[in-house]
Symmetry: C2
Subunit: 206 residues, 2 copies
């Protein structure tokens, strides 16, 4: 008696979502340039042929996976922000939400994979740049309203400060995923807050 087990069949769109998620995991495991069809198939619990059926070009799937990962990361930050009203609280929470929870944080790991590739691949460069700009705008809104309310006294224009805040998040994300022995999520948050305090003239105690 031969029993053949076939992977659960799914609708077109459900399967694509599965594959994008599988690709995300595969990229984290093997890197954007090291990932291969079989890795994605394995993560998805399918055969290479099935993956190819949905995405004839692996590179397209990878781009979609990166895109989806970015969007998820950004949406998550916005969602946390939406719950708050106090500019001080907003700023503190947002700084936190830009950092990985630890060295294995999948969202940040995925974004970090893009860093190097963005220098070689224009598509990735554009993706990463657009994420950066949106994050900057996010901070700007917080800083501007805080300044309007008289809670913050900005040491420079809000664009400059916002760009630096996002830059610091990015960089500490790399340090944390690289397992710096002295810099974890808490320490990184404190380092960025140190800058934020100087830039806003507020001690950011909430």
């Amino acid at each position: 008696m031969k029993v053949v087990v076939v992977a659960q069949r799914k609708s077109r769109s459900d399967r694509r979502i599965d594959l994008i998620d599988a690709a995300r995991r595969a990229i984290i495991r093997h890197g954007v340039d090291g990932v291969q069809l079989s890795h994605v198939a394995e993560e998805a619990g399918l055969t290479s042929g099935a993956v190819l059926y949905h995405y004839p070009d692996l590179r397209e799937l990878l781009v979609e996976a990166q895109h989806a990962g970015m969007e998820r990361f950004y949406e998550q930050r916005l969602r946390q922000l939406a719950k708050l009203t106090d500019p001080v609280e907003k700023l503190v929470v947002t700084i936190r939400s830009g950092l990985p929870t630890g060295p294995l944080d999948p969202d940040v790991r995925l974004l970090n994979e893009l860093g190097g590739a963005a220098g070689r691949n224009r598509v990735y460069g554009v993706l990463l740049t657009s994420l950066y700009d949106r994050q900057v705008s996010m901070y700007q809104a917080i800083l501007d309203t805080g300044a309007a309310l008289g809670v913050f006294r900005l040491s420079a224009d809000s664009v400059t400060i916002s760009r630096n805040l996002v830059a610091l998040e990015d960089a500490y994300g790399y340090r944390i995923t690289a397992r710096h022995p002295l810099i974890g999520p808490d320490e990184a948050a404190e380092l960025i807050l140190s800058y934020a305090r100087a830039a806003t003239g507020n001690d950011l105690a909430h």
Copy 2:
């Protein structure tokens, strides 16, 4: 008449230096995880067999290439620093020397390739961490002497400020190599200087 052209023969150590350099270029072209033996061979003007003769394990060569690239980057920064005495000048020049000259700057491109891989590969993580720490020390020395001379009035301890300065360099290095349309070397330097001014209480005009 058959003419066989053989690559110029070189001494063991010369050839190894060549290969490390070729590997550096190959990594920049294809990524740490996308680079393959033939890429390195091509960059070196040799055949795969010849590369394998010197480095039976490609991964070892790649690690050496990354290591060499890091050291070169760091040494270069130290060298520029050694020429100066004024803390203000030192700080300004050092900030500059941590940024790529443009999107194609090979040294920064190479370092950026490491970012993602450091989350997966412990060796790369250690390399990158040690570079970061040394750069932090470099800034610390500048800030501490400036403070001792009364030129700087630090807004936080020198470790904190130094960590943030290196973090900002790193992050803007990524932005520049990803070809951010608004942030080039000059703009990045100005952004970091904005922080440095606030942190040192010095307007850093030289």
